[in-house]
Amino acid sequence: MKENELKKLCGEKVRSDFPEFIDIEPTIETIDTDVKKYSKQLGRQFTGGEKKIYGYVYEKHVNNFKKILRIVIDENGNIIKITHSK
């Protein structure tokens, strides 16, 4: 999927589940998927790194607090996880 299509998918998720972030323009992170480098230290033979993964980060400030919503999505438009700042 193209970047604007992924952004639209994330926007739909925000609209349905996290409407307080509707007006926020996300920043987009590309996630480093090279996990072979962790193999030795973690005692496992990791492979992978073929799929492209993106993090859409929505940030707003409420009173004294920063509220972050992160939607992690792969290049095929599958939402992998949604996390929030504490």
Partner: protein, 350 residues
């Protein structure tokens, strides 16, 4: 319980301590460590030899070595690196630097820090060291939890994995504005917090659910004054943003510094923004804390429990997702152990 088989490395800034507190301060600090932990290797920190010291520590350490950083960020600086998440934190602080041989996210050596509060003199620091370091094993027959309402499903998942009997308070409805203050005294076990924090605020806060139209969005639920009692038989695990950020603060302005001044055994918290999910499956801060309690229960002292928890956390995330996400990396970097790394949990059933 504390295990004297461990070889303790103490990293400290002689020059700065002597300037601030006089030559005698070094002997007093060393005496405090040795009288509680047995023989220790004292390593003098200087900024110009930072990289060399890291190499020396990691090449000299054995499988039984633990590192304690004696001092705050101005004395023995955390490593400052760009936040892996583009969340406005900018530079973040990690103590993995001296503990990680290759990749900064994954520590190889157990490490903890016992910082100075800005308003502490040498007598206060020695008293704190004596109290923290004299702690033996923790019984963990009790526990206390506090969670923001919005996090409670994931929080109960973690809380249930902690040994001991106890309740978890949910905020809101709980708020310090409407209830009496809490002061912890002689609780034998874990104090667990899944709440909000901010870099410049001394207390931690709850958060209402979006369906709750009545409550204040972020009610104040705990302040440093709750940790001024006898908490030597407890440890703290907090998922609050900046729950483990103490730099430049006085002890009354920071829960971690107040708890350490009161002699808490150890404290786990994040130096920057922390992350989690509203609902299980748990991840980020929730997952790391859950694995940490598993490691404690398996008999590991706090330092080893955190090192191994970070390694397991990375392994689980890579195996599950096929990558290590940026907020996973941030969790690994920012969650910091304060206090005594050689104290573990006693299983009273044995």
């Amino acid at each position: 319980m504390r295990d004297n088989r461990f070889e303790m490395f103490i990293l400290y800034n002689r020059e700065m301590l002597e300037q601030m507190f006089g030559q005698n301060s070094i002997a007093r600090i060393q005496d405090s460590f040795v009288s509680s932990l047995g023989s220790c290797l004292f390593i003098e920190y200087t900024e110009s030899r930072r990289r060399h010291l890291k190499d020396y520590i990691l090449s000299t350490a054995s499988s039984s070595t633990m590192l304690i950083i004696a001092g705050d960020h101005s004395m023995v600086p955390f490593e400052s690196i760009e936040s892996p998440v583009n969340d406005g934190d900018g530079m973040i602080l990690t103590d993995n630097f001296f503990a990680a041989e290759n990749l900064l996210e994954i520590p190889d050596l157990p490490v903890s820090r016992i910082p100075f509060a800005r308003n502490e003199g040498i007598d206060d620091y020695i008293r704190k060291l004596d109290s923290i370091l004299s702690n033996e094993g923790l019984a963990c027959s009790e526990k206390f939890g506090m969670t923001a309402a919005v996090w409670q499903t994931s929080a109960y998942h973690v809380f249930d994995s902690i040994d001991g009997m106890g309740e978890m308070i949910v905020s809101p409805p709980f708020s310090l504005g409407h209830n009496e203050d809490i002061v912890f005294n002689n609780l034998r076990g874990c104090l667990y917090f899944n709440v909000h924090g901010a870099e410049h605020l001394p207390g931690w806060y709850g958060q209402k659910k979006s369906s709750d139209s009545e409550s204040e969005e972020f009610p104040l639920c705990i302040t440093p004054s709750s940790f001024t009692g006898d908490i030597k038989t407890s440890f703290i695990m907090t998922e609050a943003c900046f729950g483990g950020f103490a730099e430049g603060k006085e002890s009354g302005q920071s829960i971690v510094l107040t708890a350490l001044s009161s002699g808490i055994s150890f404290f786990l918290g994040s130096t920057a923004t922390a992350y989690g999910t509203y609902f299980p499956p748990i991840s980020e801060a929730d997952l790391l804390c859950s694995i940490f309690t598993d490691e404690l229960r398996s008999g590991n002292p706090a330092g080893i429990a955190l090192r191994d928890a970070k390694q397991k956390f990375a392994r689980e995330n890579i195996e599950k997702n096929g990558f290590l996400d940026n907020d996973d990396k941030k969790t690994l970097l920012t969650f910091t152990l304060y206090g005594n790394p050689s104290v573990g949990v006693i299983d009273e059933r044995k």
